[in-house]
């Protein structure tokens, strides 16, 4: 395969997937193992968390003394598997709706850039909608992290479906006008057969790329929600009358780890940097896959600049 971009992206993603599945069995510490404040007689020092990276803790520990590597591996299943699952659901449902609308629907008319009052609602960002829905049930919840993560996944999937459906519909309309669809119709093919055998195969590549891009968007939403203290799997909030409230992620999901440590760029920087690097690396992996696929598919059709 002469496509280094695609290969790099796939390697990163598959390595992370393997780490998610098998990492917890190989890591030196467990996710619930805590480094407590203790006196080390041999070195004559008091050891207190957070421990810096290196030595016994390869990526250091967080403020509470949990091993960063262990909690990253613990949270990885949420970051990695859930983002893919949400993207898959969005593309599946949105794709079916888009194909149906693309086959039966009418082409949108109207001038480009026209102002309709509905577009005002663009001013309310998507993650704020998700935030409003989740904020009531995410703070100090009684249900399990997995259940709450599932609820968030449903919300994020539903929010994303309309845009996926619109994209697929647009592509489907273009294909619908092609000669071979017309001939299939003349031969008496049913609408379902036309969608399945003619329209879907010609936009298959776009759907795959869309899926990868949706996964990146979902990860972005996880992160934006985490900045506002809505962590995947729920948030534990400690209120103190004299201090700002403290928010802790229940599931150790990566963007949650970023969100809870977002002020750590002065001291103990690794507590913020480690999850941030993991998160960025995962996004970059997906991005490279998407670019690589685009390169692979577009080589056939693309025209080139005249200048």
């Amino acid at each position: 395969m002469n496509n280094k971009t695609l290969l790099t992206g796939l390697t990163i993603t598959i390595l992370m997937l393997l780490a998610t599945l098998f990492g917890p069995y190989l890591s030196p510490h467990g996710a619930d193992e805590q480094l407590k404040i203790h006196y080390d007689a041999a070195q004559n020092t008091v050891i207190a968390p957070p421990a810096p990276p290196g030595g016994e803790y390869p990526l250091g520990t967080d403020k509470l003394g949990y091993d960063m590597l262990a909690i990253m591996l613990d949270g990885a299943k949420y970051t990695i598997l859930l983002s893919v699952a949400i993207a898959l659901f969005r593309v599946l449902i949105g794709g079916i709706i888009g194909l149906i609308l693309g086959y039966y629907g009418k082409e949108k008319k109207g001038r480009t850039g026209q102002f309709s009052m509905w577009s005002l609602l663009n001013g309310i960002p998507v993650f704020i909608i998700a935030w409003m829905i989740m904020v009531g049930i995410s703070m100090n919840p009684s249900v399990s992290p997995a259940y709450l993560a599932f609820l968030l996944a449903v919300v994020l999937a539903i929010i994303g479906i309309p845009s996926v459906a619109a994209t697929i519909q647009e592509k489907a309309i273009v294909v619908r006008e092609k000669q071979f669809v017309l001939s299939a119709k003349a031969l008496g093919a049913s609408p379902w057969a036309i969608v399945r055998r003619h329209i879907f195969p010609s936009i298959k590549e776009n759907v795959i790329i869309l899926f990868v891009q949706e996964a990146v968007l979902v990860l972005g939403l996880f992160g934006q929600l985490a900045i506002f203290h809505i962590f995947v799997g729920g948030t534990v909030r400690y209120l103190d009358p004299f201090l700002p409230p403290i928010y802790i992620s229940r599931s150790n999901e990566w963007s949650g780890l970023i969100g809870q440590a977002r002020n750590m760029f002065y001291v103990y920087q690794w507590i913020l940097l480690v999850p941030l690097i993991g998160y960025v690396l995962y996004i970059v992996g997906f991005h490279l896959i998407s670019v690589g696929l685009e390169k692979k598919y577009k080589k056939k059709y693309a025209k080139f600049a005249q200048i």
């Binding site: 577009s119 609602l121 663009n122 001013g123 960002p125 409003m132 900045i227 506002f228 920087q269």
Partner: protein
């Protein structure tokens, strides 16, 4: 339906959406039950409170404040960042996009594309990290990392982030359409007529790219408004979104009326910035299209 009726119907519809939207945290609570009654009674309370002014007071921590007194300064701060960010972002993005559409520097293009997939908060945190890193190495504080108080706001770094995130989106969009436009036949025709490269790019290709930019304006604005929340929060800027969503949960719980007022103010801001963007694009069109 005539246009006037459509318009008069759509404003209440949008307000209804805002009322329902602000109801979510009341209806969905930690006990996993639907609280529809409480939700609708909060709408009732809102209308009842308009006359007495109760709907325009909110709690910030434990202090009660008047919405009308606070909104002015916060609105102005946000408007400042958004209007400069959108205008500078559009201009920089447009020019760089033209450059990227024409140039063949693939490495640079790939780098820019990579930075554009990173979510806005990652970009901001990395910028803050960079400032701290430079300071720790050289003792030179390039910008303030975040505002410490309203009297001593950090301006440099927030302004940079307010510009580069929309600029990055605009750049990608323009570069992509520029690439498509340059592959058209009328470009090779213009070339055959012996017109200069710069002339073709700016007077033949760019005017055909601008409609796409205009059509994409709402998406562009959506990205900017999403970014607004993140960057006001991370830089601790007391703007509109901070005022609303930082105080949404005060001492006595969720403040329905504050969120409704704040979201309406946000939509007004959207209208203003949209008009401002259209004006800017109109100006750009006057320069390049004939």
């Amino acid at each position: 339906m005539p246009k006037a009726i459509q318009l008069t119907l759509i404003v209440p519809a949008i307000l209804l959406f805002v009322f329902l939207f602000a109801m979510f945290p009341i209806v969905l609570q930690a006990d996993q039950q639907w609280h529809w009654n409480e939700g609708f009674s909060s709408i009732r309370d809102y209308f009842a409170g308009i006359g007495s002014g109760e709907s325009f007071r909110y709690l910030a921590g434990k202090t009660e404040l008047s919405f009308w007194e606070q909104i002015g300064a916060n609105f102005k701060t946000t408007l400042f960042y958004v209007s400069i960010g959108s205008a500078a972002g559009t201009l920089i993005g447009l020019l760089l996009g033209v450059y990227f559409g024409v140039s063949r520097r693939e490495g640079l293009k790939r780098f820019v594309e990579l930075t554009s997939v990173l979510p806005d908060f990652v970009v901001i945190i990395l910028l803050q990290f960079l400032i701290v890193f430079i300071y720790s190495k050289t003792d030179w504080l390039v910008f303030e990392v975040a505002s410490t108080s309203r009297d001593d706001p950090a301006i440099g770094l927030p302004l940079i982030s307010a510009i580069i995130i929309p600029a990055n989106y605009m750049l990608r969009n323009v570069a992509m359409h520029m690439g498509h436009t340059l592959s058209e036949d009328y470009i090779s025709y213009a070339k055959a007529r012996g017109l200069g490269k710069t002339y073709i790019v700016f007077f033949h290709a760019l005017p055909n790219v601008l409609p796409y930019v205009k059509a994409d304006l709402h998406k562009f604005m959506g990205i900017m408004f999403g970014n607004l929340f993140i960057f006001e929060y991370l830089y601790n800027i007391s703007g509109l979104s901070m005022m609303v969503f930082n105080n949404a949960f005060a001492d006595e719980g969720y403040q329905y009326s504050l969120v409704v007022n704040g979201v309406v103010a946000l939509l007004v801001l959207y209208l203003i910035v949209y008009a401002w963007q259209r004006l800017l694009l109109y100006g750009i069109e006057k320069v390049f299209a004939r």
